[in-house]
């Protein structure tokens, strides 16, 4: 479904990002894996398993200069980018009234500002080909909210505004922009939640189980592919019927 396409997955070395990178490579994409720590081993693994070209880029999306350098590396290798999955994110909880300023900056810098920076870099590479698909990983917390997650929710809700605005602006360039809102997905990031909170979440899922990273990756594959060629500005929930 993505044969020969070049796809960048930020935060691609684990969790939803890794599952997405893996599925994209399985479907023939050349994959750029970005992570804060060196994702070379992950990139090598994909090349060996699927015979695709890969590029590992250690860069912090919270740092503008590192994001610029990342897109220059992609430009140098392929001169183009077909798919961006804006997945890099951090999760930190704090109740209203007890939110430290440093936490607000940290979460917004990665989850929101990082995504905007990457979207901008990707759009510039995609404008040349007048084609591309950008997928922003938001969250059910961004659409529905959740106690203790005001900052995380705000950072993810911002991505919905980003998605809808950029979709309108970039449609004439042939660039589609969509978002995925995962529910409770069994990843390292949510495993860090307190056990009682995890149990409460599973009990609220219509399908009776937590989602897997691959459940989300499959929707990313659809949005990245030509199957979704007339789909833009949408937020797709992948939550098994989670009520929040």
């Amino acid at each position: 479904m993505l044969a020969g396409r070049v796809a960048l997955v930020t935060g691609g070395s684990r969790g939803i990002g890794w599952a997405t990178a893996e599925l994209f490579a399985e479907h023939g994409a050349h994959v750029v894996i970005n992570g804060r720590s060196d994702p070379s081993a992950r990139a090598k693994e994909l090349s060996e398993r699927f015979g695709v070209e890969t590029l590992a880029i250690a860069a912090d999306v919270a740092k503008a200069a590192e994001v610029d350098a990342m897109f220059r590396e992609i430009f140098k290798k392929w001169k183009r980018l077909d798919v961006l999955v804006n997945n890099a994110g951090i999760l930190e909880d704090a109740l209203v009234g007890m939110i430290p300023d440093a936490m607000i900056d940290g979460v917004i810098d990665v989850n929101t500002k990082g995504a905007i920076r990457c979207l901008q870099g990707a759009a510039r590479l995609m404008t040349r080909a007048k084609r591309g698909s950008i997928i922003n990983m938001t969250s059910i917390v961004g659409t529905n909210g959740n106690e203790g997650q005001a900052v995380y929710g705000a950072s993810k809700a911002a991505l919905i505004g980003l998605t809808k605005s950029a979709a309108k602006e970039l449609a004439p360039q042939g660039i589609r922009v969509n978002a995925i809102a995962p529910g409770y997905i069994d990843t390292d990031m949510v495993r860090a939640l307190p056990a009682d909170k995890q149990a409460k979440l599973v009990a609220a899922i219509g399908m009776g189980r937590a989602g897997t990273a691959k459940d989300v990756a499959k929707v990313a594959l659809f949005l990245a592919s030509d199957l979704a060629e007339y789909v833009t500005g949408q937020v797709v929930g992948v939550d098994g019927g989670l009520r929040m």
């Binding site: 503008a64 610029d68 510039r124 590479l125 404008t127 004439p172």
Partner: protein, 80 residues
């Protein structure tokens, strides 16, 4: 006129859809109706493709005239 100067002129003429005899040295961003924000991004993409460079975000924002576009390309190793 150097080959790259001719190429730069040609990119401006084509990306902004302006007449070939336009005084390009005097062109400024939003100084003519054809060079609006949408055309600016197309111009940047065309420049990058023609000269095989990738501009930085600050370059894109600061590229407010034809002479500044030339200076920006010089910064990225293009000789005029």
């Amino acid at each position: 006129m150097s080959e790259n100067e001719a190429k730069l002129r040609s990119v401006f003429v084509e990306a902004l859809a302006i007449p070939r005899d336009t005084d390009v040295e005097g062109l400024t961003y939003r100084g003519i109706k054809q060079w609006d924000s949408v055309a600016h991004m197309q111009l940047v993409a065309a420049l990058e493709a023609a000269f095989d460079v990738m501009l930085e975000t600050a370059d894109v924002i600061g590229m407010s005239s034809y002479p500044i576009a030339r200076e920006t390309l010089v910064k990225h190793g293009v000789a005029f």
